[in-house]
Amino acid sequence: MTQSKDKPEKPMHRVRTGDPAPGGLSREATIKIGQQLRAMYDEVVKEGVPERFSELLKRLDDNKGGGEGPHS
C-alpha cells in the first residue's frame, strides 16, 4: 500500500460496507432525514407564488372571456 501525498481537503465519510439490514434505521436517523427533506422543501414553499404563475392564470382567465372574468 502506497501512501498518497495529497490528502482530501474535507473529511470523507466512508459508507460502510455490510451496513445494518434495510429497515433497521435508527429513530434519530429517520427524524434527521425527515427534517432535512422538509427544510429543503420548505425553502421553496416559502418563496410563495412567483409572478409567472399568477400572470399565467390571469392571462388564461382573460382569454376565456367568460362571465366571471376579473373586474376591469
Binding site: P22, T30, I33, Q36, D42, G67
Partner: protein, 182 residues
C-alpha cells in the same frame, strides 16, 4: 369552461408546493417551473375530470408527477444524442433554492431511483399520507411504504447519517489534535 375564482385560487394555492415537489424531483428550478406551468395548463384543459370537493393539490401533484415521468423518459433518450447539452443543464443548478446546506441531500436524492425519490418526498416532505402518495404514484400503499423505507435507508447511507450516533467527525478531529500534540 370558464376559470372560476375558486378553481383559480386553489390552483394558485398549490403552486408553492408543486414547485417544491418539482425542484425536489429535477434539482433544477427552471425545469421545475416549466413542469409546474405545464401542469397548470394540463389541469385546466382537463378540469372537467376533476371532482369538486376532492383534493385539488393531490390531483395537481399527480399531473406533475406523470409529466415528469414522461419528460424524463424523453430526456433520457435525448442524452444519448446530446450528452453535452444535458450535462450543461445539470450544471446550471438552482442557486436560490439549493443552498449549500442542502447540497449533500440534493446529491443523495439524485442517486435514488425515481420511484423511491418521489415516494420519500411526497411522504417525507409534502406531507401526504401513504394512501395519498400511493394514489398520486398509481401504486399500492404497501409499495409506497417499502419505497419510502428503502429511500430513507439509502439516504442515511449516502449522507452517513448513522454516524451521528457515534459523534464521528468530532472524534476524528480530536484524534488529529491529540496526535499533533504528541
Amino acid at each position: 369552461m370558464s376559470l372560476d375564482n375558486e378553481t383559480r385560487d386553489s390552483i394558485l394555492a398549490a403552486v408553492p408546493n408543486l414547485r417544491a415537489f418539482g425542484i425536489s424531483l429535477t434539482g433544477n428550478v427552471d425545469r421545475a417551473d416549466d413542469l409546474v406551468q405545464e401542469t397548470i395548463l394540463r389541469a385546466l384543459k382537463n378540469i372537467d375530470s376533476f371532482e369538486p370537493g376532492t383534493n385539488m393539490s393531490a390531483w395537481l401533484f399527480t399531473i406533475l408527477r406523470n409529466l415528469f415521468r414522461s419528460e424524463y423518459r424523453k430526456r433520457k433518450r435525448e442524452v444519448e444524442d446530446a450528452t453535452g447539452m444535458y450535462a450543461d443543464s445539470l450544471k446550471s443548478q438552482p442557486e436560490q433554492s439549493t443552498r449549500l446546506e442542502f447540497e449533500e441531500l440534493r446529491a443523495a436524492l439524485d442517486k435514488l431511483p425515481d420511484d423511491q425519490r418521489e415516494a420519500v418526498i411526497l411522504v417525507g416532505a409534502s406531507g401526504f399520507s401513504y394512501e395519498e402518495a400511493a394514489a398520486i404514484c398509481g401504486c399500492a400503499v404497501g409499495t409506497i411504504k417499502s419505497r419510502v423505507n428503502r429511500a430513507r435507508n439509502r439516504l442515511a447511507e449516502l449522507m452517513s447519517i448513522e454516524d451521528l450516533d457515534d459523534i464521528g467527525p468530532d472524534r476524528q478531529t480530536r484524534a488529529v489534535l491529540t496526535a499533533d500534540r504528541g
